[in-house]
Every structure is written in structure tokens, then in C-alpha cells.
């Protein structure tokens, strides 16, 4: 392809002084990325690190010669595998994309056409580039599905996107990228939206593919632990400029730039929650709640049970953490407490009063004192209302002081500058939106705030700031928090109590101190082990330990332990008897057939 | 302003048989019918004249001429003896007999038929056969002009016992090959027609295009050969393109009727003032571009043989009108609205011009334009001031009897004048032509001065045609030769100029 130099092989990807500009609607052009340069040698994996909105995706897209609607590549040179990307015509670009360079998008759920079966979409690059006939392409795709450890690789291709989980889609997308055996693969935050256990499966699949196909890669992420596992070198971006570039080890252990140092520091786990909570009557008492979707069977149970007999006491002034993998029912629980998801059995008490299942039947005071901060700040803020209009409405609605001063005070509480007040949500960064969302909840002067994965989409620095903020507010306003996450680090650093959910069952309930000591439920242990660490050999270790291909689980038994199919310690009783709940010496409540000694 | 007719109709060569002609008239709707009794629109009349014959026919000066009747005789003008032509056959082959005539005329008396001439038929006391070819009609009162009544298209003769009219079975010059209401009718020459010089073209298709522009375009593009009602504004253009326009001075008029039994019409000054407010010259020039004759507030047009030539012409006189109005006290009063409608040709324009002239002398007139459909049944003659539109009647007598006699059903201004009624009765049995004319003159004077009717203009009918169509002559009876063009036209195939003069 290019002339091989005897001493230093020329880089496969060479980016020189790349500048990108964007324009929103009819507004002026603003720079997104300025003067970015880096090289990637053949066979190397480069990580692009940086906060949300720093231009990572934009650069990754530029490598394929593509700029999003309203954006433009305004300068620089881009050479990828011998092609001058910026000077190709449309036909050459079509041949280049998908063939020489493949892209794995940030949000797999949105990147598949909802109206076409997955197999059609996966083999499409091979077909449009006339690499192989259809039959061969299907075989190749099935082989890749197997490589990606997808369940039932022979039939999964016939499914539609909505029939697969996020993790599965992410792996199918990887298969789609690899089917043409491209020279360069770009991963754009492929695991950000996944929970830790699924993340390991996906990362493992990538690893395997990298070994087998030997492509050059660019890996976009804001998770430093993943960088440590996947990349050889890293580029740190902030505000569209390169802050630092170096080998992964150097960046993670000896960063030279202040911003990189902050990033690394923020990803170190540390405890924020210092004061123990005084024991009191629970502020919110959830008892044996049963939630499901679909119709009601003749026995009075929902067709699809999501939450089964879950009980949670939340004390005043404490932070209760809920952890579990994707789809285990965390959001469902939050929604039930918030009154937008009816439950079919069980009860809830709030501030000593029974809490109606339907939000419309709750008293205004209950509504005011129980506030929800939802996961995706993008969707929860009205895109047509400015920050101050949003906040002012909440204040006036609950009869609070709605003056400019009050609004400024609330923005101040979430550490947002007052200048932001007149902006629309689209003009805010992800972290800012999440804070506005928080501010809106706080404006109601709540007693309990329900937080549904509010840090999942944020980079470490911003996420850390939000966690700090939560703890500060807890101290200042003696708020209670119900904190849902799948990030064990975050959980450890802020919570007083933790509930571990699996498939709608609360498998372990313990104090944060008890979480540090054995024994644990097998699932809790697995979660623990799945939290990525900065050690470069962590991923290999985990894979070695668990053996690969974990997602082979069948359906849980009708009357036994829900975790049985995946449990490495399952015994005969697990298949037919519901596990008993017992209290461990550490005060943790564990639902398992095994004893404390066996689990230690 | 009546200029000479197009040169083409004046080239005198002998008529020839043959050819297909397509003609477009103005109105056409679902209520198009082959039932002579119910025909009420121009297209209906034209179609009726193609398939049916009457006992008499009206010529270019509206004089009654025998048609199916060989003779009409009466001594007292009450009992009329009619002798039918022999050797006349219906399209289905049946011969014409007196029974057909009796049936055809008696039908009009049956209200469920919905006849347009029900009123006129009710004036006939008995109608009976007198032998196979003789008919005797006895009237309620004497009427010397009765033959013209029978000349009305509606009194066409149909086969005895006909109740279904999806096909026409008449004695006329054409047979009906196709009839789709509101769309078209196709006529083929009747080989057995009793009058050998009465029809020339082989086939004639009659369609109706109500959209003015579209009708002109059809003529200009050569899609049709003849159109009725050329707009005065397009006459020059049509002629410039080598097509001909025939101008027929007809007695059609659009008039303002002020009811004399209610509202301001009870005051003679008011009526007089309104008549003076009509700027007739301006209406002639801007509405009809000169294609009309000035009206003098009485219903006979200048070329009518009974026209009163001595009456002074009413002229636009705003000062006098203002004086009369202030004298009557209506100048500053709110007046009932002026009702007009596209249904009454030109009435909206007249109303607007009148309104503007009234505004100048400080009189506030509200113009209310009504929808065309339902105008005649819902608005006409129901409001204190409204416009009407009257087609030429077969005779002066009919005009007076239907629209001005105290008991007339269409006495638009609700005018009651005993002297007029008396003159009317006298005139009907006056055999002396000159004396009758004198009576008519007096009646016209009475209408002119007393009736609440303002007639500003008589409309000149304009019909456009391709020069290869020959035989068209203006008639007073209405557009396209009094709706009877089908019998006269012929096609000059040698004229290949195709629009180049």
C-alpha cells in the first residue's frame, strides 16, 4: 500500500492539523476541533480520551471523511491507509468507507435500521463492496457472531434490532464492521451504555477479534480503565484541542498535563460519604413490591414479572444504592416509587403515610417531597424551555419564591454559573444538563431524590463532580438519595446502604461497610470482579478467571433461584426452591442456598 | 352600436347538406331535461328545438308562423281551431295526431309535471280533439295573441302518453342519439323530417360550458364550432382570430324591481329617484361595452314592433335624484339591501355601479349578492329591492300579462294599476293592429312612469362561430337564433381558411 521504510514504518493513520467547524441552525460557525495531529502505526490501537463534547466523535468521524449535518472539515490533512481522505470524490469515499475503514457507533441501539433484520444489515458492507457473494457473507457473519460470543449465532441474524439487548447490538455492530476485514476500525465508546458484566463480554469479544483480524484501531472512550485494557497509546482531548499524547502507561501513571492529571485522579475510587447515618424510622418503606408488565394472569400476577417481592427501607438523610445489571429492574423500581409504574402487590410508606401507586392519587406534598432525576438528561429537559423557565415553573408550581434570585441560588447549589440560566438544553453539555436536572428536583425542596443512573453518560471528572455535589447537598439539606447505578465505584463512594438486584430479586442488602467484607452473594462477587481496573492486565485476568463466553445462560427456573443458570456455585436445591434470606456476620442480608462459609 | 354582422353570414351561397357541428352553450346542469314542459335553460331550449316541434314557431321578429299547425283560427279570440299538418311522423314512426297535441298541452296543467308554462296552460279552459288532425282550444278570456303563446318552446308536441324522457321522441329535425344531463347531447339528422328545407347538418353535438373563459377557449382552439354568449370583452379578440360574432338584439333585460307594497317603494319619489340614479350610458359602456340598447324602464326593446317611440328617455340625473330622495326623506335613512346575483346576468355589476353613484349623492346602499342557485325561488321578488332578469316574451301581451298585470304571478314590483289592467283586457280583443298598438303605447307609458321597475338596458346577445358555419341570422327571440339555430345552420366545407380571414 505505502512504501515501507526500513527503519520506521510510516503511520497507517496520519492526522495533521485537523480542524472541524460546526454551525447550529443559522448560527455562526464555531470551531469544534482545532489543530489536532496524531499518528497511528499499523496494528496499533490508539485511545481518544476526553470529556463529553470535546470532539472525540467528530474526530473519529472525520477519519472516515464524514462530517455530521452542519459540521465541516475546515482544514488539515488526513491520511488513512494510503488514502488522502479529504480529497476523495463521492465514489472513492463509498469504496473507502466500510471497506478500508469501519466505524462502530457510540449508541448501537440507534445505529441499526429498525425495519430491517440484523443479518441484512451485517452483511450489507460485504455486499455493496462486492467482497463476497451473499451466501459466503452470511457464513462469515455467523462466524463473526460466534467470535463475538453472541447467543445462538445461527439465528440471531433473523432478529430485528429491538429484539436484542444493547450489549448484543454492540457486538453485532462489531461483527458488521469486521465483515469486510477493514484495515482500520474505529470504536466510538462501544461500552459506555453497557453494565459492567456485559461490558466485559463485549471487551473480550473485541480482544479476540483484534487478535484474529489484526486491524489498526482508534478507541474513543472516557473510561480510563478501559483505555488501560485496550489501547497502546492515548490522546487526551479537551475543548477540541490535544492536551497530551503518549503511551497508555505513561498517560495513566505519569500524566504531565493538569487536565490529564485531573482525569486520572477522578477515576481513583475514594469515599465521599464520611458521616454515619443516625438510625431512624424509614423515610420511604418499600414492602414486598411486585411489579410487572403486560396483562394480569388469573392468579392476579402480571404476565411478565419484573420486580419480585422487593423490600427497601430508606432512612432519612441516607443514600441508598441500588446496583444490578442492565434489565434487572432498577428503573422499574424507581418508576414504581415515583408513581408512574403501577404495582400489583406490596405497599409503600412515605413520611409515615401510605403512598398510592398512581401519581394522580398522591398528595401534592408527597409529589413535592419525592423527586425523580432520570437517567437521560437529554430527554427529561423540555428542549423548548430555557433553564430558568424550567426552574421557575417548578418554583411557582410549588408556591416557592420564583424570583431571579431564587433561581440563581438554585443554580448556585448545583454549581452552575448564573449565565447559563437563559440557555436552552441543547446549548448545554451533558454534565450541565444533568446538573440542571438535579437543580429542577432540588427546586421542589424534596426530602427524597430518586436518581436513575445519573452519572452513566458522563466522563470521570464530571461524574465525580456530580457525586461530590450529591454528598454536599445531603449534608447541607439532609436529603435522602436513592441512587441507582451499575458503577460499583460510584456506589461505594457515596452510599450508606446497598441493595443488589438480579432479575427483579433483591439478592443482597447490606451496609456499605458490609460490602467491603465477605461473605457475598455469588452475583455480587461477580459484579465486584467486573468493575474495570486501571491495571493493564485486568481484563486478561478476568477472562482467565471466568473462562470466556459467559452469556450462555438459559432461562431461570420457575420456582428456584433466579441466578441459578449463571451461578458457578449452583446446587440442586437452586432449581426448585426459592433461596432463603439470611443475615451474614457483616450484617448483610443475602438470599442464597449456600451458607456464609461457602460464600466467603 | 349594433355594427354590421360578420361578413360570413352574408355570403350568399346555397345551403348544403352534411357535416358535423359542435356547439357550446352556457348553462348546463343535472336538471337538463328532454321533457319540453320542464325546460328552463338556454341549453334546454336549444336541445328541445332540435328534437321537437311546436304548433307554431316564432320568426326573427317574434311573429308567429305555422309549424305543426297548418292554421290557427278564431273568430272571438277565445275559441281557437287548429288544423294540423298531415304526413308528420314522430321519431318512433308514429304519425302525428290531434291526440298527441291534446296530451302535450294538457300535461302542462298537471302541477306534478312541474311545467314552466303551467300558468299559461291554466288560461286554456279546454283542449280537445276535433277529428284526427283538428284541435280546439278554448281560453278563459279572449286573447288575440294566443298563437304566440303556443310558440313557446315548452309547448312542443310530444307523443301521446309519454312519461319517460330519457330519450326524445318528437317530430323535430334531429333524432336524439345521446343525452347526458349536464354533459352533452348528440343529435342526428332526422331523415323523415317533414320540412325538407328545415335542416342541413348531419349531426350536431351540444355541450354546455358554464365557465366563460373555457367556453371562449374552446371556440378559439377549434374544439367547438359555435358558442353562445361571447363576452363583450372578447368580441374583438374572437374576430381578430378570424372567427365570427353574431350580434342579436334581444329583449332580454336585467332590471331593478322595487316592491311597491313594502318599504321605500311605497313612495313614488323614491322610485323615481332610483330610476334617475341609473347611469345607463356608463352601464352600457362598462358592463356591456356597448353591446346593448338603452332601456327606458319599460319592458319592450327599441326594435320591438310594439315599442313606444314617443316616451322620453330616462337619463342619469343625480341632482334630481338627490332632490327627490331628500323630499321623500330616504336620503339619510337606512335602506333595505339591494339584492343581486350572478343568476341575473349583469346584476352584480349594475348593483355595484348603482351603489357607487348613490354614495356620491350621499345615499348609503348595501349590496347583497346572493348565490346563483336558489336565487329565483329564494330571493327574487322577496326583498323590497332586488334585481331580476327577464328573457324576451313571445309577445308584448305576454310581457304585460305575466309581469305587470295586477294579478300577474311575476309582477316583480307588486304594482297594482287598474287602468293598466283594463287596457290589457281591451287590447286582447282588439283586432285592429293600429288601435292595439296605441293601447300598448299607453301601457308602456304607465309602466315607465308608475311601476317600480328600472330597466337600464336590453342586452345584445353575442354568439361566436367558425366562419365555415353558415346560415346564422340574428333573431329577437334570444341567443343563437332564439335558441333555434340547429335548423338553419349548414357547413360550408369549401371554407378551408380555418380561422384565417
Amino acid at each position: 500500500m505505502s512504501l515501507l521504510h526500513p527503519t520506521a514504518p510510516p503511520p497507517l493513520i496520519s492526522v495533521q492539523n485537523l480542524s472541524l467547524t460546526g454551525r447550529r441552525g443559522r448560527g455562526p460557525e464555531t470551531p469544534i476541533v482545532t489543530n489536532v495531529s496524531f499518528n497511528v502505526a499499523e496494528g496499533e490501537m490508539l485511545a481518544l480520551i476526553g470529556e463529553s463534547g470535546s470532539g472525540k466523535t467528530s474526530i473519529a468521524l472525520a477519519l472516515t471523511g464524514y462530517a455530521r449535518q452542519g459540521c465541516r472539515i475546515s482544514g488539515g490533512t488526513l491520511r488513512v491507509a494510503g488514502h488522502d481522505v479529504l480529497h476523495m470524490n463521492a465514489r472513492e469515499l463509498h469504496a473507502f468507507r466500510g471497506m478500508t475503514i469501519a466505524y462502530i457507533a457510540q449508541n448501537a441501539g440507534a445505529a441499526f435500521n429498525p425495519a430491517l433484520p440484523l443479518m441484512e444489515q451485517v452483511i450489507e458492507p460485504a455486499l455493496v463492496h462486492h467482497i463476497m457473494p451473499r451466501k459466503e457473507a452470511v457464513e462469515q457473519a455467523i462466524a463473526l457472531f460466534e467470535l463475538m460470543a453472541l447467543p445462538s449465532p445461527h439465528t440471531i441474524g433473523a432478529r430485528y434490532p429491538h429484539e436484542c439487548s444493547g450489549g448484543q447490538l454492540q457486538r453485532i455492530m462489531a461483527a458488521m464492521a469486521l465483515i469486510t476485514e477493514p484495515e482500520v476500525v474505529i470504536f466510538d465508546e462501544p461500552t459506555t451504555a453497557l453494565d459492567v458484566t456485559t461490558q466485559i463480554e463485549v471487551l473480550e469479544a473485541f480482544r479476540l477479534a483484534m487478535r484474529q483480524c489484526g486491524f489498526t484501531g482508534v478507541y474513543v472512550t472516557h473510561d480510563l480503565a478501559i483505555v488501560a485494557q485496550m489501547a497502546d497509546r492515548a490522546v487526551v482531548l479537551k475543548n477540541g484541542t490535544v492536551q497530551e499524547e503518549g503511551s497508555t502507561g505513561q498517560i495513566l501513571t505519569a500524566p504531565t498535563q493538569a487536565y490529564t492529571q485531573a482525569l486520572v485522579a477522578a477515576s481513583e475510587p475514594h469515599t465521599r460519604n464520611h458521616d454515619p447515618v443516625p438510625a431512624s424510622a424509614p423515610l420511604l418503606d418499600v414492602r414486598d413490591i411486585l411489579v410487572g408488565y403486560g396483562g394480569i394472569t388469573p392468579e392476579g400476577r402480571p404476565v411478565h414479572t419484573i420486580l419480585n417481592q422487593v423490600s427497601l427501607p430508606v432512612l432519612a438523610g441516607e443514600t441508598m444504592g441500588i446496583i444490578g445489571e442492565s434489565g434487572c429492574g432498577k428503573s422499574t423500581l424507581i418508576r414504581a416509587i415515583a408513581g408512574i409504574q403501577p404495582w400489583s402487590a406490596g405497599s409503600m410508606m412515605f413520611e409515615g403515610q401510605p403512598l398510592a401507586a398512581d401519581i394522580n392519587l398522591r398528595s401534592p406534598q408527597q409529589r413535592q417531597h419525592l423527586q425523580l432525576v432520570a437517567q437521560n438528561a437529554d430527554l427529561v429537559l423540555n428542549p423548548a424551555m430555557t433553564v430558568q423557565a424550567t426552574l421557575r415553573r417548578v418554583l411557582t408550581f410549588y408556591g416557592e419564591d420564583a424570583s431571579d434570585n431564587a433561581i440563581r441560588h438554585i443554580l448556585d447549589m448545583v454549581r452552575l454559573p448564573a449565565a447559563l440560566a437563559s440557555r436552552l438544553p441543547t446549548q448545554l453539555s451533558g454534565g450541565q444538563k444533568q446538573r440542571v436536572n438535579l437543580a429542577r428536583a432540588l427546586a421542589a425542596r424534596p426530602r427524597l431524590v430518586l436518581c436513575d443512573e445519573i452519572t452513566a453518560a458522563l466522563d470521570t471528572v464530571v461524574a465525580a463532580a456530580i457525586l461530590d455535589l450529591m454528598m454536599e447537598l445531603k449534608r447541607e439539606l439532609s436529603l435522602s438519595w436513592l441512587f441507582v447505578t451499575h458503577n460499583l465505584h460510584a456506589l461505594r463512594s457515596v452510599c450508606d446502604h446497598v441493595a443488589v438486584l438480579y432479575a427483579g430479586h433483591c439478592v443482597e442488602f447490606s451496609t456499605i461497610t458490609a460490602l467491603q467484607t465477605a461473605p457475598h452473594h455469588p452475583y455480587a462477587r461477580k459484579l465486584e470482579a467486573s468493575v474495570p481496573e486501571m491495571r493493564p492486565d485486568w481484563l486478561d485476568g478476568v477472562i482467565r478467571q471466568h473462562g470466556s463466553k459467559q452469556d450462555k445462560a438459559g432461562p431461570p427456573p420457575a420456582n428456584g433461584c433466579c441466578y441459578m443458570p449463571r451461578c458457578p456455585m449452583a446446587i440442586a436445591a437452586c432449581t426448585h426452591t426459592p433461596p432463603p434470606v439470611w443475615q451474614a456476620p457483616s450484617n448483610a442480608f443475602i438470599a442464597c442456598h449456600r451458607t456464609a462459609q461457602e460464600l466467603s | 352600436t349594433v355594427s354590421s354582422n360578420s361578413v360570413y353570414s352574408q355570403t350568399n351561397s346555397a345551403p348544403r347538406h352534411g357535416g358535423h357541428v359542435r356547439a357550446a352553450s352556457t348553462t348546463g346542469s343535472l336538471s337538463d331535461t328532454l321533457d319540453p314542459a320542464r325546460q328552463s335553460m338556454a341549453t334546454d331550449y336549444m336541445r328541445g328545438n332540435m328534437f321537437y316541434d311546436g304548433l307554431v314557431t316564432l320568426d326573427e321578429t317574434l311573429t308567429a308562423r305555422p309549424a305543426l299547425a297548418e292554421s290557427l283560427e278564431s273568430t272571438d279570440f277565445r275559441t281557437w281551431h287548429i288544423r294540423l299538418r298531415s304526413g308528420v311522423y314522430f321519431h318512433d314512426g308514429a304519425p302525428l295526431t290531434s291526440a298527441d297535441v291534446v296530451y302535450s298541452i294538457l300535461r302542462h296543467k298537471d302541477p306534478t309535471v312541474g311545467s314552466q308554462v303551467h300558468y299559461q296552460a291554466m288560461a286554456m279552459r279546454t283542449i280537445r280533439a276535433d277529428g284526427p288532425l283538428g284541435v280546439i282550444i278554448e281560453l278563459d278570456t279572449a286573447n288575440i295573441t294566443f298563437p304566440s303563446v303556443l310558440g313557446l318552446t315548452n309547448f312542443a308536441i310530444i307523443r301521446e302518453g309519454t312519461t319517460q324522457f330519457d330519450k326524445a321522441n318528437g317530430t323535430g329535425p334531429f333524432t336524439c342519439a345521446a343525452f347526458q344531463p349536464g354533459v352533452r347531447s348528440l343529435a342526428l339528422r332526422n331523415a323523415n323530417f317533414w320540412n325538407p328545407g328545415g335542416v342541413w347538418v348531419d349531426s350536431l353535438e351540444l355541450i354546455s360550458i358554464s365557465d366563460d373563459m373555457a367556453r371562449h377557449n374552446a371556440l378559439l382552439s377549434g374544439d367547438v364550432d359555435i358558442i353562445a354568449a361571447v363576452d363583450p370583452r372578447l368580441v374583438a379578440l374572437v374576430r381578430k382570430r378570424g372567427l365570427a360574432v353574431m350580434e342579436s338584439p334581444t329583449g332580454t333585460y336585467t332590471n331593478l324591481a322595487i316592491r311597491q307594497d313594502v318599504g321605500p317603494g311605497r313612495n313614488a319619489d323614491f322610485i323615481r329617484a332610483m330610476k334617475l340614479l341609473f347611469n345607463r350610458e356608463q352601464m352600457r359602456d362598462s358592463i356591456y361595452l356597448g353591446y346593448c340598447r338603452m332601456g327606458n324602464d319599460q319592458p319592450l326593446p327599441p326594435e320591438h314592433r310594439d315599442f313606444n317611440t314617443h316616451l322620453p328617455q330616462t337619463r342619469y340625473d343625480p341632482e334630481q335624484a338627490k332632490f327627490l330622495l331628500s323630499r321623500s326623506g330616504y336620503l339619510n335613512q337606512s335602506l333595505p339591501p339591494l339584492i343581486c346575483s350572478p343568476a341575473a346576468n349583469g346584476s352584480v355589476e349594475m348593483a355595484v355601479l348603482l351603489q357607487n353613484d348613490a354614495r356620491r349623492i350621499g345615499l348609503q346602499l348595501d349590496v347583497r349578492r346572493m348565490p346563483a342557485d336558489g336565487y329565483w325561488s329564494q330571493s327574487w321578488m322577496r326583498f323590497p329591492m332586488g334585481f331580476g332578469n327577464v328573457n324576451p316574451r313571445a309577445s308584448a301581451d305576454m310581457t304585460f300579462a305575466l309581469s305587470f298585470a295586477s294579478t300577474a304571478p311575476w309582477n316583480e314590483s307588486h304594482w297594482r294599476n287598474a287602468q293598466f289592467d283594463q287596457l290589457l283586457v281591451l287590447s286582447r280583443s282588439e283586432p285592429d293592429e293600429a288601435k292595439r298598438r296605441a293601447l300598448y303605447d299607453d301601457m308602456q307609458t304607465l309602466i315607465h312612469t308608475d311601476a317600480g321597475i328600472a330597466i337600464p338596458t336590453f342586452i345584445t346577445s353575442l354568439d361566436g362561430y367558425h366562419p365555415r358555419i353558415r346560415g346564422l341570422r340574428p333573431r329577437q327571440g334570444g341567443q343563437l337564433m332564439g335558441y333555434n339555430f340547429a335548423r338553419s345552420i349548414w357547413v360550408d366545407e369549401t371554407d378551408t381558411a380555418g380561422g384565417q380571414p
Binding site: A374, N376, N382, M385, F397 | L234, P342
Partner: protein
């Protein structure tokens, strides 16, 4: 920013659609005042006269001054159609969003009713309204508004259906907000673009319906007139290329196209 709120409130005035609408409204109000002649006055003995210094846009089919007629026609067209469109789209949008919000029986009943209304030919409804309640400007405006409301209802219901599922509506509902607030403050601002585009189209339809009604004789009463009727009554002038027919047609085009383009632009910016 927060301190300069009065200024901020004036900001919408700088937007093109608003400016354009203001211009036409101004013309509508002042048009009859600056017209050179009375509207019914015959000023020339030539009909369909071409442009001249005495009659800037020539004369019409009766010899009246076209500029005068045009100013009067623009005035009534703009005023009537604007009011009718605003009424139709206001009510239609509100009901449409409400139906999407409430779902269930409200939605079904409203939608079926609107479907029924929409499928009755508009000319028939117009005729009947005027025949029953008499021909007056309020009746005309109301009839036009009723005829175009179902269309607007359909559009906004479709748009709102995807919005009411969004989380921010849920959070407003959790607060216990009333329907009116939800419709007007939470949902409507998120669909202004398409709704405005719809308003533009309905305005065009209203102009057209007004002229058709006038043609049938149930529209505006003389000497009032509207642009569509002006075009139609002077249609014969087309063969002479008379400004009497071209001017009102052009005015309609400029009025409606301009407004629509401006509204489109507004929609795109959102």
C-alpha cells in the same frame, strides 16, 4: 440576560415572519385609506387597460382602478384569512395536542368527529353555513375556521403523539400540571416549526376558499372584495395579459409564498 427581560421580550419582533406579518397587517389596515379611488368607481371607459401613469395597475373588467381594488382586496383577504387561520389552527392545534395527551376515548371521539367533518366537501359546508346564518364577515370567518380546523387537528395530533411520550412531559405530569399548561407550555413549543408550516399552508387554503365562496356568491359583499375573486372576475383579461388579473394573482403568490417561506425558516431554526 435575566435583567434585560423587557428587551428580551421585544426580540420576537425582529424575526422575519413577524416582520412580514406586520407588514401585511399594516397594508391591510392602511390599504383602503391610501387607495387612489373609491372601490366601486368606474374611472375609465377602457376595460382591462394596461399600466399607465393615471392608473398604476390599469383598469379592471368594468373600467375600475385595479390598484384601488387590489388594496381593498388585499386588506380583506389578509384580515379575514388571518383571523380564520389563527382560529382554525389555534383550536385545531389545541384539540389535537389534547387528544394526543389524553388518548383513549377523548382521542377516539374527537378524531372520528374531525374525520367526518374533513370529509364533507368544504364548499358544501361553506354554502350551508352562509345559507343558514346569513352572509356576514363573522359567519364567513367562523365557517372558514371550522372547515380548516380538522386538518390542523390531524397534523398537530400526529406531531404531539411523539412528544407526549417524551420524559419531560412525564415529569411535568408527575408534578401534577393541568392539561392547559401541558398543551400550551410544554408540548406546543416543541412543535412550533411544523405547526407554523401547517399554518402557512392553511392560510393558502383559506385564501382559496374565500375566493371560491365569493364566486358562488356567498363570499364578501360588494364593494368589498378579496384577492381570489379579483383574479377570477378579471380572468378574461388573461388573454390580453391585463394587469387586472396578473396583479391580484401575483399578490396572492407574494403574500402566501413569502409568509410560508418565512414560517419555514422559523421552523428550520428550531
Amino acid at each position: 440576560m435575566m435583567l434585560s427581560r423587557p428587551l428580551h421580550r421585544l426580540l420576537p419582533l425582529r424575526q422575519t415572519p413577524v416582520l412580514l406579518a406586520l407588514f401585511w397587517l399594516l397594508l391591510a389596515v392602511t390599504g383602503p385609506l391610501i387607495a387612489p379611488c373609491p372601490p366601486g368607481e368606474v374611472v375609465s371607459s377602457t376595460v382591462f387597460a394596461p399600466i399607465s401613469s393615471t392608473h398604476l395597475l390599469g383598469t379592471d373588467y368594468l373600467g375600475r382602478d385595479v390598484l384601488t381594488r387590489l388594496l381593498f382586496g388585499t386588506s380583506s383577504t389578509v384580515l379575514l384569512c388571518a383571523v380564520a387561520t389563527v382560529l382554525a389552527c389555534g383550536a385545531g392545534t389545541f384539540l389535537g395536542i389534547m387528544a394526543a395527551l389524553k388518548q383513549g376515548l377523548t382521542d377516539t371521539l374527537l378524531s372520528r368527529f374531525m374525520d367526518g367533518v374533513i370529509s364533507i366537501p368544504s364548499l358544501l359546508s361553506g354554502l350551508v353555513a352562509v345559507a343558514t346564518f346569513g352572509s356576514s364577515v363573522p359567519v364567513l370567518v367562523l365557517a372558514m375556521a371550522c372547515i380548516y380546523m380538522p386538518g390542523s387537528y390531524r397534523t398537530s395530533r400526529m406531531l404531539a403523539l411523539s412528544i407526549v411520550r417524551k420524559d419531560f412531559i412525564l415529569s411535568a405530569r408527575m408534578r401534577g400540571e393541568k392539561t392547559g399548561y401541558l398543551v400550551l407550555r410544554e408540548i406546543l413549543p416543541n412543535m412550533t416549526g411544523p405547526v407554523l408550516a401547517d399554518v402557512g399552508l392553511r392560510f393558502i387554503y383559506a385564501v382559496r376558499l374565500l375566493s371560491n365562496l365569493s364566486f358562488l356568491g356567498v363570499g364578501l359583499q360588494p364593494p368589498q372584495t378579496d384577492l381570489g375573486s379579483l383574479t377570477r372576475e378579471n380572468l378574461l383579461g388573461l388573454v390580453y395579459g391585463a394587469p387586472a388579473v396578473i396583479a391580484p394573482a401575483l399578490t396572492i403568490a407574494i403574500l402566501t409564498v413569502g409568509l410560508n417561506l418565512a414560517l419555514d425558516g422559523k421552523g428550520q431554526r428550531q
